[in-house]
């Protein structure tokens, strides 16, 4: 029998074991590095940037990489490297706010649909299916026609269209848990439905949702880029990866650099979040962990 005073150490070693497991996952560490790079570059864009993203340098327009312009310039001679950094801020804002808000709402609605009464389930499913039957772009067009283009509108569209994905996932996992013995045991203790949902169902369904969120970040970034291209999102001259890509695509015969510089961060961010998501799942889902 182990001395009770050792319990603190055991708790500590449990945490350290998770950390070690995560560190052993090379892809996960690589993903974490990319994600941190993404956050750092977006947050500290003004410090890392070499130019004002709106400052034009007409004589040097559409140049390749030079000492002054590390990633070349676009058709107006703006510094692509700095614009990419500032574009990351737009991407981060949309991704962070959009994904976290729709994850939270989706989680709550999904648990309500799964654990609540049958009629609520049917009603919510109807709403989710209705939203999903709209193509995102059409929904966005309609919203813009009514309210005019803005970044906040992009956010709202992203949130509304991604909620059903989270909600359905949460609902399915909740349904699977609803009749398990531990939920029954909680009911026999007298736990209220709210308590059961928040304390016993949520920790068990949130894992897959976080993975989905990590994978959704690049999707959201692309939606923003696509909408910006159509003139429905970020208004020029504000830089976003989408607008950089699309402007670059028009001048690709003159210089490939805007497309390359705008595309690489998108690819790396996608990879980073995917690797990180999978590594986190492996470490934090005790049931998937091997060797117990």
């Amino acid at each position: 029998m182990i001395d009770p005073t050792l319990s603190g150490q055991i708790e500590f070693s449990e945490r350290r074991e998770k950390l070690t497991l995560f560190m052993q996952n090379k892809l996960g560490m690589f993903g974490l590095l990319l994600v941190l790079l993404f956050f750092a570059s977006a947050i500290f864009a003004p410090i890392f940037a070499t130019h004002d993203p709106f400052q034009m340098d007409i004589p040097n327009r559409m140049s390749g990489p030079t000492a002054a312009h590390w990633a070349g310039t676009d058709q107006l001679g703006r510094d692509t490297y700095s614009r990419v950094l500032y574009g990351g801020r737009v991407a981060l804002k949309v991704a962070a706010i959009g994904v976290s808000v729709s994850l939270s709402i989706g989680l709550i609605l999904g648990m309500l649909a799964g654990y609540g009464p049958r009629w609520l389930d049917n009603l919510l499913l109807l709403v989710f299916d209705t939203i999903r039957s709209f193509p995102t772009i059409v929904l966005a067009l309609a919203a813009v026609a009514l309210l005019g283009p803005s970044l906040n509108l992009v956010l709202a569209v992203v949130i509304v269209t991604t909620i059903p994905g989270y909600a359905r996932l949460a609902r399915t996992s909740t349904l699977a848990l609803k009749n398990t013995e531990f939920i029954l045991a909680e009911r026999s203790l007298g736990a209220s439905p709210v308590r059961i949902m928040l304390r016993h169902i949520m920790p068990n369904v949130i894992g897959p949702l976080l993975i989905l969120a990590a994978m959704d970040v690049p999707v959201v970034v692309t939606i923003e880029a696509g909408l910006s291209f159509l003139g429905l999102g970020v208004l020029p001259p504000t830089a976003s990866w989408g607008s950089i890509l699309n402007e670059g695509y028009l001048i690709i015969r003159d210089t490939p650099w805007p497309v390359i510089a705008g595309g690489i961060p998108l690819v790396l961010t996608t990879l980073g979040f995917t690797f990180l998501g999978e590594a986190l799942r492996d470490v934090f889902d005790p049931k998937l962990r091997k060797g117990h």
Binding site: M1, I2, D3, P4, L6, S7, I10, E11, E14, L21, T180, E181, F182, L184, A185, E186, R187, S188, L189, G190, A191, S192, R195, R199, H200, P203, N204, P286, K287, R289, K290, G291, H292
Partner: protein
Amino acid sequence: MSETLLDIRNLNVDFKTPRGRVHALRDVSFKVPKGKIVGVVGESGSGKSTVIWAVTQLLAGNAVVEGGEAIFDGRDALKFSGDELRNYRGEQVSIVFQDPMTSQSPVLSYREQMTDILYRRKGSSDEEKRRNAIAMMRRVGIPDPESRILQYPHQFSGGMRQRAGIAMALLMDPLLLVADEPTTALDVTMEAQIIHLIRELQADMAATIMLVSHNLGLIAELCDEVVVMYAGEVVEHGDVHDIFHRAGHPYTRALLECDPARETTRMRYLPTIPGDVPDLHVKPSGCVFASRCPRVFDHCAGNRPRQHRLGENGHLVACHLLDAGLAPDAPAQEPSATARMEQAEHAVSREKAPLLEVDNLRVRFRIMGDFKARIKGVDDPFVDAVLNASLSLKSGETLGLVGESGSGKTTLGRAILGLVDTHSGSAKYQGQELTGLSNSEFLPMRRHMAMMFQDPIGSLSPRQTVRALFSEPFEIHGLDGRNLQDEVHRLCDMVSLPRNFLSRYPHELSGGQARRVGVARALALNPALVIADEPTAGLDVSVQGEILNLMSELQTEHGLGYLIISHNLPVVRHISDRLAIMYLGRLVERGDCDLIFENPAHPYTEALVRGVPQPDPGKRRTLVSIEGEVPSLASRPSGCEFHTRCKYATDECKTVPPVETTLADGRVVLCHHPLTG
């Protein structure tokens, strides 16, 4: 000594895990003689299944065979590969799996599955293969095999499915039949039938069978030789009579004593084996059982024991006691442990008023919607899971509720606690009606009644620490004002769980530890009534005793009333004062536990009581006590619902439903012709 079919020599298997290597098998050696049934017995973690998966080369991907050989018919089965391996697995060795539900393909009919097995017989036509399959199905006792062979596994009941599994395993006429816990997933009456079938087939075909099980009764009933395994080593190997009557190893002796089925007189405490199976990440330096052995001495820890031959039949025992020339049959239990087994003062409350009173309770489940029922022309789209159930329980008393799966015993328990809606009838707790209460009305009552669920680990919320699980009942009932820390420690001490376990999660607990957490949670608020659904399911025999002892200690201490729901008759017999036997949702017999076991009045009770395999090879049964299967709830038989399986059934039984009669000794029986009185 007959010819050896399989000779396992110094088999070593490791499992690679993130925490290092687990040395699951260490130097396992034993022989399987031709034409014999060899039983491999051990608790979970003993490596008994690893042996059969190693021999058939079906080990999980993270397993490494570190050495040893398995000589099968002259050649090393561990070195087979390619065609040779397929030939060995297909023609020479067959496996009967534990769970026939998951080991048979759900999308193929039995005909397709069985002719598939015969694909190696290139010479024979499909028609021949079909005839072979039908003959084999008939042989394992499946009625009307010509038409049933066209059915799918889900159309078969559990017992029939296991029979089909055996038929499939025997189809290629294998030299060796490996059976992995073949009856564990089955009910007592089905188990008896399968045991009977295996014994018959073995006598018939002179097959060699390797049977792996934790069930001592099954082993005693079936086997010729027994291999006892503990923590990855063979501790004893010999003739079944030697093992059960003249066991040499302290572990074997302790294991046999733990089994409640062995009890002849009722004891308040069951013997247990204290401690846990050692951590196999480290290769044990001495005897593996030393840490739990009641007769350990200074020699045991440092040296690995040698195998000794013992008795006139020369069965093998690996124990240091024999080095020292000490008699193996000296008392295995310390006197202090035996002293604890004395009949404890048992205080069933003398008060008249029962704690729990259930009267004519009925629970129905809807099987289809109204609309569908109308289309299909079904008048009554319900099934009755519990019908007219009446029982009562006093404080300090234990009532055992027994029945096969599908008998409605679990539903009855849940209905009392309002976890399932009742249709009619009443359930009263200390005179207060429980049925028809809303959740909020029921809440204050829940302090006084608690439930323990079947799966020790699965009934604990997986993402909560033990500390959170322990403090939860206090939070739910608004008692967080109490010092939670003190309460949590009190619960830990009550179930003797070390306090450093408080930071663990359920999946980090062993079955026995998780069960302790479940007991503590149920008793956290000092309830008066505890409903325990299969309290020892999924636990090893040695741990089962600990939990049962704990439960009866707590009962004496707090005057608890227990309603124990179980299909495990030895356990129920050990712990219960009174019994209620359930069949198809009805209580067919109620009364004093000892009376019922000694002299069952209902034919169904008789079948159950006689159906338990005894852990004594001298008491093998010759007759199957009950035929057939539990009918479907949706189509209840007419008259007495048991008449389809009852060997005493008369014409009256087939038409007239019996009424409850009270016998002279106070038992209530639902039968036209009770066997006593």
